[in-house]
Chain length 396, copies 2
C-alpha cells in the first residue's frame, strides 16, 4: 500500500512539530514560553460565549453549507463598514481560514500548476497547495529590504505558463510586513494583466500599528473577478479555537465551484458560527485596545531582541510576528536543544524555526519566527531566556 | 483564469442542491417534510451543552492538532467497550466524518487512482475522491438482491492496477444494508490479499435493528495495517452540527501522513470537541431508546411506502435511510415539481434523488433516498404527501 505522492510531499508544521518535545519538557516540570504559535492570550470577547450559551434548540443540527445566515450577515455588515459592498453570495463560511485556503486551492490548482507566494510565507500554505498537486513558486525577498516584494519586475519574472495565481498575506505572517496602497494596487494590476487569481490572506487586517487604514484587495472593483479574500475570526477576535473563517469573492463562478466543496463537507460547526456572528457586534474600542496592546508588545520584543548580541531583526509594521536571524547555524537543532537540554529556573522558550517558512531550499536555517502573543512581562522573560539560551548553546 | 480540472469534475450535493427551491417554497408559506438530509430530530444529549457551558477559560484557544485529549480518551474508552484496544496515536479528531474522509482520501489517492465503492453510495464520497484526482470504481448491486456486494468474484473482477482501496459504508448509506460478520471478513480478506487500504465508514454503527452486535472492521487484527475507520459523533449522538469526527487506524504510517494535514489546518473546533467528549458518557439506555425509535420509524415508512402503487422498496436493516424506486422517469424533475408546483394543505416533501448515489451513468434516475429522521406522525404525513404528489405528477 502506497500513500499518495501529494501527501508524501507535505510536511509536519514547523510551528507544531516540536509539540511532542514540548510535552516532554513540561513533563519534567519545565515552563515553556510559547512564541511558536499565533495563539494570542487576549481574552475572547464575552459576546461569543453569551451567544453560545443562549442557544437553546434541542437538536444541534447541521448549518446551511454556505454558513449560518446570522454569521454571513454579520460579515456582510463588517465589510460594509469598510466600504466594501457584498451580497450573501459573495461569502462562504469555512472552518477557519485554513479550510478557506484548502477549498480555494482545490478550486484553482491542478497538478503542475504554480502559485506565486513571497517568501518567507506561512508554511501551512505548502500543505494546502501540495495536496492539490500544485506548488509554490517563491518570490524571494531579503530581510535587509524589509521583505519587500511588491516590485513589478520581481513578480513578473516569476510568472510562466504554469502560473495560476498570486497569494499574498497582508499584513504578513511571518514578517509582519504591511503593504502600502500602491503596492496592493501594483499586485492587483499584475494579476489582472496576466489573468491570474489573486488570493489575499487578510486574517491580520486589524493588526497594523502605524495608523494605516484597514485595507483589503476587495477595494479594487476592476479586479473583482480575480480577487479571492481569505478571512477569519481567529485573530481578529482572539478566538482561534472557534475555527470560523470565510472565503470572500465577487467571482460568481469561483463561489459556485467552492460551494461544491462546502456542500461536500456539509457545513462548518453550527454553534461556533453563532458565537462568531456575535463577535462582530463588539465595539471599535475593543480593536483600539487590542491594537495598543500588540503595538506595545512589538516595541518591547523588538527592543529586547535587538539587544541580544548577533541577532538581526527589523521592526515589523503589522500582524503579531517578526522574523529574526540568530547567531546559530540551525534553528531546528537549537529549538530541540532548548526543549531537551536547557532551562533557567525551570523555564525555556519556543519559537518557529525559519526554514519551514521558505520555499527556496537552504534559506532561513538560522532564522526564527517569533509570535508576540504574550503579555509584556512574559515577553521580556522569553527574550531573556532566548539570550541565555543562545549564550549557553554557543558555549557548548 | 481557469478552475482546476478536479473541481470541475465535482458536483453539488444531491442532498443539498434543492436548497434554493426549498427556500422559495418556504417563502410561499409551504411546509416541507425533509427526508432529504440525514438530520435526525432526536434531541442532542444535554451532556454536550453542559460541557460547553462549563467551559470558562478566558481564551478560546486552538486545540492540539490530533484532538482535545479528553475527546481522544473518550473515543478510546468507547472502542475499549467494543473490545477494540486503541492507543491515542490511533485516533485523530477531525471536523466531522467529512474531514476524516477528505484527509484519508488525500493521503491514499493520486491522479488516476481508483477506489472501489459499492453503489449506490454516499454522493459526497465523489467530492472527497475527485479533488484528489482519483475516482470511484463502482461495484454494481441490484435492489432485488438487497444491494448485496460482498461477493468475492464481484469485487475481485473490479480490481485493477489502479485500485488503491476499497471503501465500504456499514451500516450503509443510502441503502441501510448491514454487513454480516462473514461479509466483513470477506472484504477484509480481499483487501489484505490485494494489498489495498480498506476504508470503513462506520458512522451509523449503533443503528442496527435486528439485534446485531455493534461491528467494526477494526475487529480484524490481521488486517490492522489496511484498515482505516471513519467515525463521527454526528449520528451516534444526534449532534450533526458539532462537526466532530475521527480517523481511526493502527497503521502508524497512515496516521503520520494524516497528521500532516491535521497540523496544516491547525485543529478542529475546541468547544465542540469538549462537548463531544462529554457525549461519550451517556448511558446505554440512550442508545436502546434511540434504536427503538428508529426501528419503529423504519417499520412505519416501509409499510406506508410499500403501499404506494408502483413504489418498490425493501426493508433496510440499519442506518436511517432507504432507497426506493418510484413510478416516475426522473426523480430530479419530480423533486423540483414537488417544490415549485405541488402542495397539499400547504405541505410538500423532499427526498434525495437517486442518480447522485450511483457511479454508473444512467442508474438510479427513478430512485430516491429517504431519510427516516422524523417522528412517526410526520413520517406518515410525508408518505401521504409522496403518494399524493406521485398521483398528481403522473396525472399532469
Amino acid at each position: 500500500m502506497k500513500f499518495s505522492s501529494k501527501i508524501e510531499r507535505c510536511e509536519l508544521s514547523p510551528m507544531r512539530k516540536f509539540h511532542p518535545y514540548a510535552l516532554a519538557a513540561e513533563a519534567k516540570g519545565h515552563k515553556i514560553y510559547h512564541l511558536n504559535i499565533g495563539q494570542p492570550d487576549i481574552e475572547t470577547p464575552k459576546a461569543f460565549f453569551d451567544a453560545v450559551h443562549a442557544f437553546h434548540q434541542p437538536v444541534l443540527a447541521y448549518a446551511p453549507s454556505p454558513g449560518v445566515p446570522d454569521f454571513v450577515e454579520a460579515v456582510r455588515g463588517y465589510y460594509d463598514r469598510l466600504g466594501i459592498r457584498l451580497n450573501e453570495e459573495n461569502i462562504l463560511a469555512t472552518t477557519g481560514g485554513s479550510e478557506a485556503l484548502e477549498i480555494v486551492m482545490a478550486c484553482i490548482l491542478d497538478d503542475g500548476d504554480e502559485i506565486l507566494v513571497p517568501e518567507p510565507f506561512y508554511p501551512n500554505y505548502n500543505t494546502f497547495i501540495r495536496v492539490t498537486g500544485g506548488s509554490i513558486r517563491a518570490i524571494p525577498t531579503r530581510p535587509e529590504d524589509g521583505y519587500h516584494y511588491a516590485d513589478r519586475a520581481k513578480i513578473e519574472e516569476m510568472i510562466n505558463e504554469h502560473t495560476k495565481a498570486i497569494l499574498v498575506t497582508n499584513p504578513g505572517n511571518p514578517t509582519g510586513t504591511v503593504m502600502t496602497h500602491e503596492e496592493m494596487r501594483l499586485v492587483a494590476d499584475i494579476a489582472k494583466e496576466r489573468d491570474l487569481f489573486l488570493v489575499s490572506d487578510e486574517v491580520y487586517r486589524e493588526f497594523v500599528y502605524g495608523g494605516e487604514p484597514l485595507a483589503t484587495m476587495a477595494e479594487f472593483e476592476d479586479v473583482a473577478e480575480n480577487v479571492i479574500i481569505i478571512d477569519s475570526v481567529s485573530k481578529r477576535f482572539s478566538s482561534c479555537g472557534a475555527r470560523v473563517g470565510m472565503i470572500i469573492s465577487r467571482n460568481r463562478e469561483m463561489m459556485a465551484q467552492a460551494l461544491k466543496m462546502c456542500q461536500g463537507r456539509l457545513c462548518s460547526a453550527t454553534l461556533d458560527q453563532i458565537g462568531a456572528a456575535a463577535l462582530y457586534s463588539v465595539n471599535p474600542e475593543y480593536f483600539a485596545a487590542v491594537r495598543e496592546e500588540y503595538k506595545a508588545r512589538r516595541d518591547t520584543i523588538v527592543e529586547k531582541l535587538s539587544a541580544i548580541p548577533g541577532v538581526i531583526c527589523k521592526c515589523p509594521k503589522g500582524a503579531f510576528y517578526l522574523m529574526a536571524s540568530l547567531p546559530i547555524d540551525d534553528a531546528d537543532s537549537f529549538q530541540q536543544w532548548l526543549l531537551e537540554e536547557f532551562e533557567d529556573h525551570g523555564d525555556t522558550v519556543m519559537f518557529a524555526p525559519g526554514e519551514g517558512f521558505y520555499g527556496t531550499p537552504g534559506k532561513g536555517k538560522n532564522e526564527v519566527r517569533l509570535a508576540y502573543v504574550l503579555k509584556q512581562t512574559d515577553l521580556e522573560r522569553a527574550m531573556e531566556l532566548l539570550a541565555l539560551g543562545l549564550q549557553a548553546y554557543n558555549a557548548r
